[in-house]
């Protein structure tokens, strides 16, 4: 009774605790799969499929070694004929009666992901910033229709246009090229970036540029020196959203890339096929794949937080 009465008198403390509990539970739920993947990456293949799953296990780097190498199975006679292993990973592979044949393609695919992901993010944000400024400040003919048209590209799943894009790319020679993938992801992301950034530009009073222009600066200088520094929050938030999309995109990457420009998402599942179900290798690839977005988000987290709550709080 008295506890209930107390809670009623301190509604803020009570709702605050409830909110905190909800957030913690939600965070735990969403983090379980990530923790699972992270742990599986350090398990041996046997541990990874044991039932019930082991929460405590002896960590092994076998998954990571398998991720970065290709291996061949050899006869015991051949294994005995080899000189003693030079490195720890040689030893690890030989203990499975295999030898390392060479590096795998994971490094290459990961680099492709970095080039295409960050490249398309840069162009989406760059074009988005200029377009958002123009839509916000100038009288553009058919402004509302154009903005709606830009948004409408998001109204269906991009994969709905996969076949025309596949045919166009084949004709233009853009299939399986970095440039082709950057153009594609930029085209998809630019709608998001224009709309997000327009909101941010709208929030910046015109007086800032007008003051700069009266003080002798050109419009572009005013934009560059006065508006852009105030847009950093919005640009950071937009960049993260664009990167997350481009980084995780699977369907187009599977369809349009196969070799030189293949990104990590369609590559990682192919690891499964190489000599049995190698879950630790898949899990370690996924773990590494998560890192760039994680670092990028941590780097810009202050701006992201301010960006998400932007406009909700009056200055």
């Amino acid at each position: 009774m008295s506890a209930g009465a107390q809670a009623a008198f301190r509604p803020k403390a009570w709702t605050g605790r409830l909110a905190a509990a909800t957030v913690i539970v939600y965070a735990l739920v969403t983090m379980v799969p990530i923790a699972w993947i992270f742990m599986t990456g350090f398990k041996t293949p046997q541990d990874s499929i044991s039932y019930p799953p082991k929460a405590v296990f002896e960590p092994s780097l076998e998954g990571y070694v398998n991720l970065f190498t290709t291996r061949t199975r050899q006869t015991p006679e051949y294994m005995r004929s080899l000189p003693p292993p030079e490195t720890w990973y040689d030893e690890l592979v030989r203990s499975r009666s295999m030898v390392i044949a060479g590096p795998s393609k994971f490094g290459e695919r990961f680099t492709n992901s970095l080039i295409i992901g960050f490249g398309s993010t840069f162009f989406s944000v760059f074009l988005g910033t200029l377009a958002a400024y123009a839509f916000s400040r100038f009288t553009v003919p058919l402004k509302d229709d154009l903005l709606f048209f830009i948004l409408s590209t998001r109204m269906m799943p991009p994969i709905a246009v996969a076949i025309p894009i596949f045919l166009m790319y084949r004709t233009l020679g853009l299939s399986d090229t970095h440039l082709g993938m950057i153009i594609l992801y930029t085209a998809v992301n630019v709608s998001l970036s224009v709309w997000l950034l327009k909101g941010f530009v709208d929030e910046i009073p015109r007086e800032y540029e007008e003051a700069a222009m009266i003080d002798g600066y050109s419009r572009f200088q005013a934009f560059y020196k006065v508006v852009l520094p105030q847009m950093t929050t919005g640009i950071a938030a937009t960049a993260i959203f664009c990167l997350i999309f481009a980084w995780n995109e699977y369907a187009f990457a599977l369809l349009l890339t196969s070799g030189t420009a293949q990104t990590a998402p369609p590559f990682i599942p192919t690891i499964i096929g190489e000599g049995g179900l190698d879950w630790p290798a898949v899990a370690s690839g996924t773990t590494i794949f998560l890192l760039p977005v994680l670092f990028f988000t941590i780097l810009l987290r202050k701006q992201l937080l301010r960006g998400i709550t932007f406009g909700a709080v009056r200055k």
Binding site: P205, E210, A211, D215
Partner: protein, 364 residues
């Protein structure tokens, strides 16, 4: 230093006409105030002088040079915004020095001139502070500093005191006027506050619905309002406007209001019809026992040495400013008499004042 001439300026936003056929001349070194209710076109006019908006007609001359379609950057004019527009990513020193950086002034020279400007405005102790933490009055000083550091030909100010607290406002009014006296640059100041306008201006232009209603020194605007709008806008409380029907010829000195004869300044122009309005300032009304024009006291506002008495008359409510010593109880009846040479007559149709001799004298 510059003279600014505005000739039949016109601005339309689509179907909406913001400014039409506006013309006036701002003399070199003058403190010029554009006064009017919100939406009257004063800010639009100011923005056209600055080059932030382009007019749809007319000309703007700066020292005789046609700058109507020049870019804002080419006009050498400074603008102080209502919300200050201090760049939030720069500190006070960088804000004030920003216009100089554009002109390619050397770093040492910028440093020197920023210090000098800051001393003039007494904000030299704030130079290293970020602008976000400043108080309203200090923000205003930084905005002023940013405009005077460049020594432009003219200052344009768009309700610069509108965002300040009342206590700051009176002090800043005085400061602005002093600053103007020290620098002597042509200043165009936009406000909807007649007290600000009256206390600071050398000349005032009163605007309404995009039209210039009157243009002249404060006293002329107060004493001889050119239109009924000006009469009803200026003064606190504003001029009493009493509509009546009556014939009066050029040279006439008396009008008959419902049988009561009221002496007026000698007219030099005859009205074309008999629907007229008598304008009388509250302080030019005397209350007495006699008088054919009578009013019943409705309420009083005590203001210290004077009081405002509202009387119900046949022509509507009339406000009189009289000494607080006179007792006026609600319900009491008084006779109203006016100070003849301070009266105005207006034509109801055009809204314009009929020219009289006292009015003419003031115009010369």
């Amino acid at each position: 230093m510059a003279e600014i001439r505005v000739e039949s300026l016109h601005k339309a936003f689509g179907d909406f006409v913001a400014v039409q056929k506006s013309g006036f001349t701002i003399a070199d070194g003058e403190f010029f105030v554009m006064l009017g209710p919100s939406g009257c076109g004063k800010t639009t006019t100011l923005r056209m002088i600055a080059g932030l908006d382009l007019p749809t007609g007319g000309r703007i001359l700066l020292d005789g040079e046609d700058v109507t379609f020049n870019r804002a950057a080419q006009r050498d004019i400074a603008f102080v915004f209502q919300l200050f527009a201090l760049y939030p990513h720069m500190n006070v020193r960088q804000n004030i020095g920003f216009p100089l950086k554009c002109e390619g002034v050397g770093r040492r020279e910028i440093h020197r001139r920023v210090e000098e400007t800051a001393r003039l405005l007494r904000i030299d102790h704030l130079l290293k502070k970020p602008v976000s933490g400043l108080a309203g009055g200090d923000r205003q000083r930084v905005a002023l500093g940013r405009s005077i550091v460049r020594r432009p030909k003219a200052f344009l100010m768009d309700e610069p005191l509108g965002a300040l607290d009342a206590e700051f406002r009176a002090a800043m009014c005085q400061e602005l006027r002093q600053l103007h006296q020290r620098i002597g640059a042509t200043t165009v100041y936009v406000t909807h506050d007649q007290l600000e306008a009256m206390s600071m201006a050398d000349k005032i232009v009163v605007m309404n619905h995009g039209v210039v209603e009157q243009f002249g020194p404060p006293q002329e605007i107060y004493d001889n309002p050119a239109t009924m709008f000006v009469a009803g806008f200026i003064g606190s409380p504003p001029m009493n406007l009493l509509p009546f029907q009556g014939k009066v010829a050029a040279g006439g000195r008396v009008v008959a209001i419902n049988g009561a004869e009221v002496a007026v300044p000698q007219l030099v122009e005859a009205p074309t019809h008999d629907k007229l309005v008598l304008g009388v300032r509250p302080e030019h009304i005397r209350l007495g026992e006699d008088g054919t024009l009578r009013g019943r006291v409705f309420g009083t506002e005590y203001l210290g040495t004077t009081q405002i008495v509202t009387l119900e008359t046949e022509h509507g409510p009339v406000k009189a400013r009289i000494s607080s010593k006179i007792e006026a109880q609600p319900g009491e009846t008084f006779g109203l008499s006016f100070i003849t040479e301070r009266l105005s007559l207006f034509d109801t149709d055009s809204g314009r004042a009929l020219r009289s001799q006292t009015g003419e004298a003031a115009h010369v």
